[in-house]
Symmetry: C2
Subunit: 175 residues, 2 copies
Amino acid sequence: MPPCTVNIKHMLMSTSSSPATALITQVISAWQLQNRRVNNIINKLTAEEFYQETAPGRNSGIYLLGHLIAVNDTMLPLLGLGERLYPELDEPFVHRPDRSGQQFPAPEILKGYWQHLNDILTMHFTTLTPDQWLTKHNAISEADFADHPQRNKLNVLLGRIVHQAYHSGQLTFLL
Amino acid sequence: MPPCTVNIKHMLMSTSSSPATALITQVISAWQLQNRRVNNIINKLTAEEFYQETAPGRNSGIYLLGHLIAVNDTMLPLLGLGERLYPELDEPFVHRPDRSGQQFPAPEILKGYWQHLNDILTMHFTTLTPDQWLTKHNAISEADFADHPQRNKLNVLLGRIVHQAYHSGQLTFLL
């Protein structure tokens, strides 16, 4: 399956496009750019490099990749887009720290998960309207959302973009 | 001068707020959050730690802080908001690599620049309308912008948010 892409230029130049649509399209584009940046790093790593620490005593490449998949995967239920694809990754990559005796899937397996998950997410993202992006995510109550309207779906996406960039800065130390 | 902040809740709950305004307000909020995260790291670093490498052979803390200031500073002319505040930082922190014999301002000086610059930027950001965020930035020609409408002011801000997150992931290795 080819990577799912959004034709940003087409969407931004569409005469029916509102400013809000253009803005959200651009945030989705930023998300896709971060995905490509992670791809650019992990596609250059040897199997051996995946298991190296990004800095002395810090997380390994394989741990960070699994962690990014697990955290992105939570967007499916958080944004009401469906069930998680890889909930089994929470235990080794979120609940447990690196090098605590857990088994990791092979790098090639994780790279496949990463690509598939991001294709699915991108496909869903393009179906949400600007107003839907401003509705609450599924980890906050109606009452709390009334007090914190910024805790909406867009906030989740912005948070994930930043989270990927943060760990990309660390993964690049493996190159 | 106290830090310049945007009252996100007020802006999002305002009955006159359009979806586009709410979306852009949230991106500015993400920018402010990244600023606070960098602050949280640099405020914990000792003077000695600022000069340590984030990983063996990698950029030091002082270099990354100067680099972030210089790159954020370019937003002033890029977004048509004014002249740069600290163009003298380009030479030591952008054009030259770390440890190439240049002199650095002291950490406390750079921390002051960082805070002042981000206050000025945030103040300007809140004056731009959604439509203005979708206009071209000043490093692209009208002709190129017609072909690449995503190269607008919002794209510059999203890029800077990601850039800060990327280097924050590295700076945190100094803690």
